[in-house]
Amino acid sequence: MIIPSAVILSMVISSFLLSLLAMGFTLQYITMSVPNLAYGTMAFFSAYITVTVVVLGYSPYVAVPFAFVLGSIASFLLYKFIAFLRDRGMPVIGLMLSTLVFDLAIYALMNIYAELIPHYLHAYIGAFNLMESDFEIAGIPGILIVSAATTSMLVLLFQLILTKTKFGIAMRAVMESHSLAIVHGVNTELVLSVSWFFVGGIAGISGSLYPIWFYVDPWAGATMFISIFAACVVGGLRSIYGSLLGGFLIAVSQNLISFTLASVFGPALWAYSSIWSILIAALVVLKMPEGISGFITSRK
């Protein structure tokens, strides 16, 4: 069976973007021990910046810095809200519910924005795909180059920060033990604020690049959240590099399974692609509750 180039491209692009999203989600989880339910919605709100930029006649990549800023601000505000509740003694489950506040608010704003744009810019942006506004170099779509470069650069930058800077060491200390980091004089508040700001920016960038190849609607965040979560579970719940690996594995298997099933049973099966990721995650949980990274660690 020959896999068409479009499927391979989708697989590679979604691998890069999903890995980035999974890494951000895991990083937020490790630093605060609170899974951010608003993560998918926050990331995909940026897709609306991209479509606005395209409607205004610019290249979709112009949206990237704006998406970074928007994602960072939203993430920073969310962190402040969680920290405020945490300081008042709220348990983790309450803190997790507090992220719903942002999920709901951003979801509402996203839909309101999608309805306002046709009024002011005369363009329908309920569900959209911006593939036509992308550039090509020697037949290679720009999004492939940009997503690969962005992911590689951000991972490298992150690795450098974590291992070569004082801030990175402080960040690792907070990830290992929040209370111990405080005892050692780490300004945990600053470390966490900057981490969440940075991670929100990463999510924003991923969300802004996504519609350049894939379809996006106001539910994209919720649908994509399945794959993000599956990637984190497969990679390992508390491992940043595990989540990167999980992102690649989920994106590849999701596309391959969908392609195989669609070839056998018909193209309608492409619509179910998100489901395979959660099934894979369920199987991994049953066999390796700590994910691939936990499995590798236990074998050493």
């Binding site: 339910l37 709220m90 719903l100 999920d103 709901l104 309805e115 959240f225 489901i275 959660i278 949980v285």
Partner: protein
């Protein structure tokens, strides 16, 4: 006179809506408030129940009356007209179909709860919540994309098992929903006041201790999940019957997971009174928004529907900041324990 009739209809509609949401929030309270199972995918069994009511009763009626040559999904409206004509004069078959639908929905959702419990309960509480959310979203995708189950993106009309009541058919349905809500309240009340209820609370407080005294915590949690999923499935059936149509797209995390969670948080978890009050407060708010739409909509450049999640977010934020324990905080439970002098029982307070 017309206005009184309209107000009466609105009131009844509100009561039914309240009844359905009480089923959802009580089940959530049973899972989280009593057992500590953190499930954000509440709409998984609700949607499963709704899909059963979209799939089964119509096809069952077609089989019974020997309707052939028509496709249940594509010819749905013609089939419904045909079945209405038959079921109007056949109360026995109508009730029979309803009972079978309820049993199937309960069984399917019970199994769903039991099976999903295996991987879900292996995860930490927070990740379990996400896992359930993803499972629910997956079922929604299946429901939306599969025409054969319940019409896929277009949805499907459900039959009313009380068509034989003629113009009172809707009231029959309302009585059914209210009756089931009362029955479910009673079942949960009895279970929560029983030794099993106290066992659930002990697991919520400290699962490890419960395990140390020989309790199979995982098995108990799975049972709780299975039962509450079954009840939520019944809630889904009631919701589908009440609307008269099942569209999988409409079963969103906001309406069927976040709303019940907010009701629980606002009312206060771990006690049924709090659940009732929280549900009542939010149902009232929602009814005001729905009925106030014609007044406010002309002033807004977007659909007023989108203010609902925004208001929900504000309400959740205010509750978490000002009253995180809810309107009615959980009271310490009372247990009977033997006193030191012999076999007589005395009431002792136990911290919640």
């Amino acid at each position: 006179m017309v206005e009184i009739g309209l107000a009466f209809n609105l009131l009844l509609e509100g009561i039914v809506f309240f009844g359905i949401y009480v089923i959802f929030t009580l089940s959530l309270n049973f899972q989280y408030g009593y057992t500590g199972i953190f499930n954000l995918g509440l709409y998984l069994p609700i949607l499963a129940g709704a899909l059963v009511v979209g799939y089964l009763p119509g096809r069952l009626a077609m089989m019974i009356y020997g309707v052939k040559g028509l496709d249940y999904v594509t010819d749905n409206s013609s089939i419904m007209v045909l079945l209405k004509g038959r079921l109007q004069n056949d109360p026995l078959t109508s009730i029979g179909i309803l009972i079978v639908t309820l049993i199937v929905a309960f069984t399917v959702c019970w199994l769903l709860g039991y099976v999903t419990g295996y991987p879900a309960l292996k995860l930490p509480a927070d990740y379990m919540a996400l896992f359930m959310l993803c499972l629910a979203e997956s079922l929604r995708i299946i429901g939306m994309q599969t025409m054969e189950i319940a019409g896929g993106p277009f949805g499907i009309t459900t039959l009313n098992p009380f068509w034989w009541l003629g113009s009172l058919a809707y009231f029959g349905l309302m009585a059914l929903i209210i009756g089931f809500t009362a029955m479910i309240c009673l079942v949960y009340y009895v279970i929560c006041r029983s030794p099993f209820g106290r066992l659930m609370k002990s697991i919520r407080e400290n699962g490890l201790t419960a395990e140390c005294v020989g309790k199979d915590v995982a098995s108990i949690k799975r049972k709780v999940m299975a039962l509450s999923f079954g009840v939520l499935g019944i809630g889904g059936v009631m919701h589908g019957l009440n609307l008269g149509v099942v569209i999988a797209y409409g079963y969103t995390r906001v309406d069927f997971s976040y709303w019940p969670w907010l009701m629980l948080v606002v009312g206060g978890s771990g006690n049924n009174l709090g659940v009732f009050l929280g549900t009542l407060a939010l149902v009232l708010m929602r009814q005001i928004m729905i009925n106030g739409k014609p007044i406010f909509q002309p002033f807004l450049p977007f659909d007023m529907l989108w203010l609902e999640p925004l208001l929900l977010a504000i309400m959740l934020m205010v509750t978490l900041v000002l009253r995180p324990q809810g309107i009615v905080p959980e009271k310490p439970s009372h247990v009977k324990a033997p006193n030191s002098e012999g076999g007589n029982l005395q009431s002792q307070k136990q911290p919640a």
